[in-house]
Subunit: 190 residues, 4 copies
Amino acid sequence: MPKLGMEPIRRTALVQATIAELASKGSLDVTVGQIAKRAGMSTALAHHYFGGKDQIFLAAMRQILRDFGTEVRQGLTRATTPKARAVSLIEASFSDTCFSPQTVSAWMTLYAQAQTNREMLRLLQLYQRRLKSNLSHALRPLTDHPEAHAETLAALIDGLYLRAALSRSQSPDAARRTALQTLNLLLEER
Amino acid sequence: MPKLGMEPIRRTALVQATIAELASKGSLDVTVGQIAKRAGMSTALAHHYFGGKDQIFLAAMRQILRDFGTEVRQGLTRATTPKARAVSLIEASFSDTCFSPQTVSAWMTLYAQAQTNREMLRLLQLYQRRLKSNLSHALRPLTDHPEAHAETLAALIDGLYLRAALSRSQSPDAARRTALQTLNLLLEER
Amino acid sequence: MPKLGMEPIRRTALVQATIAELASKGSLDVTVGQIAKRAGMSTALAHHYFGGKDQIFLAAMRQILRDFGTEVRQGLTRATTPKARAVSLIEASFSDTCFSPQTVSAWMTLYAQAQTNREMLRLLQLYQRRLKSNLSHALRPLTDHPEAHAETLAALIDGLYLRAALSRSQSPDAARRTALQTLNLLLEER
Amino acid sequence: MPKLGMEPIRRTALVQATIAELASKGSLDVTVGQIAKRAGMSTALAHHYFGGKDQIFLAAMRQILRDFGTEVRQGLTRATTPKARAVSLIEASFSDTCFSPQTVSAWMTLYAQAQTNREMLRLLQLYQRRLKSNLSHALRPLTDHPEAHAETLAALIDGLYLRAALSRSQSPDAARRTALQTLNLLLEER
DNA sequence: AATGAATGAGGATTCATTCAT
DNA sequence: GATGAATGAATCCTCATTCAT
């Protein structure tokens, strides 16, 4: 019997390498060769396990979103009140990991690719729906317009993230504060 | 005898062609060859006038932002009250032209490129600063926190645009309404 | 304990798979991976039993010629007169099996490969000699020039086959009739 | 103005190089790189002028058929009687150039490719139709069955060529004689 | 001013084959 | 006997860029 069970190991390694390479290059211009090299294997093996560059990329994006989702869920678990749940969603969106180079790169990749790549678009929409649904669920006990406010907050979070991640005109911290203030404003409304 | 004054004509043609190509491809995968062909000249000439692909792209981005800026300024001119000025800024951000394929493509390009390309980043920051400054200027007579509210609105606009442009989970129209409602909310606050 | 007698089973399976794959692809562009998969084993095992792709192909060609040979012999057995023997040779050459996709593919492969592959050439020559020898043997009681006529008929059969197999400008049936008419003509000669 | 008119030169060079490479390799396994190198240019240029490997190959095949066609036409021009025309067609089919390595390779390529490549098939059919039509035209004054006899002779020519070209069991000369004898036989028939 | 010509460098992908288990 | 693992080498193709005219 041959060496067994390498597939998950290799796939994981490739996904990690993709994320790392994405971060170090800071752009989408990452070749399968670079990824494979970083993952310690031949390009042929990378293709063998993923079928193609697109799928490697997709797997990397999925991983990043999965990690983010885990963080979000942990925050929600710790929160005991509806308000605390909303706050935790905002804080997860501006955590340090969200601003690591690879995560920023990945998000920008996702935005750029979503225009042409069906799967990427689906992935992005999944995230967007989840954020909004989490927010509206948290806001339901607190306002008469949970849906509308969730939409506002979700968009605000994305916009603040974009500005903080790319232009540094605002620090992540300031972005988080702005989001929290808007949350308060939305809830105070009579 | 050489034709005189060709430079601005050629440059304009190339910029227009870049924007058009960006729109039709819906992605950054546009080659100099395609651009030059659409502009009715050789790739060599395109290089001659711009020096390289990056600079052609940059010029195209600049043009798009310039066009957007013009639209914004026209809206501001027509507005007679501070509130109307703020509304016009929002409306300009969700106008039809902003959602044309080429503009969406251009914005995503800008976000993606801003990570690695210094000039692209500068351009993006320029837009961001201008939007915020326009907003805060409009809000100044209306609120005690023009800066903070401008920041909030600017980010919200970007986030709503992103969602409306990419995922169609929201229509441009709904995005505009959300922004306007938030504007009202911010101004109603005592 | 090792399974015994697997070798012939595996080899047969691979040969059949090769022929099938040749047919479904309709060309020589068949990979060892595809063959092995169809045969239900790993590529490594295919190599283990055959040593290399060339030998797998060769074995497949041999099998096809062997099958054809069997058909020919059965036809000859059923024929009771010299003329009937000649007719049966012609009919075997234009039987349905000869025009099945895999057989056509195999013949073209053989012709193409014969230029560079010694074994393939030998195989082709074997077939050609056998056809001519079968024909001349059948014609011997019927004509003064069995060798010459056999050569003519053999070439005619190959040429008609080629035309019918590839271009469909002629149906297999028409090809057979043409060959039979020429046979008659050759025998009528005084 | 740039260096002009290179296109036909380059295309010709590539076609010649393809034919030469086909001959020296004796098989279809010829890469664009090898062809380009032999033609003294980069692979990129080869692609530039032809668009792809298939089209380079196709152009080479066309050239070979064109050359053959020219030879045929010259033979026909010199022939003064119908019989002489038929003879000249046969002789053109077994001329020395037809048996040069590159021509043989090209024919085998054509047969093999015709199965999958639409254009190659069309080319082959073109040749087959032309040969038959030339033959039937020549035979018309000489027999009551020009069509049938043309078909027989065309197929016989192809079959004899195949045997002479590949297996050397027969010399080109013997093949020609066999074809001529069959021609006589077909015309003597009452 | 303008361009056809030309290429080097690289990139995704494929595949026959080998090896350790 | 059997196979998953792994790869080197090759192939087609693309593209930004340069150059001579």
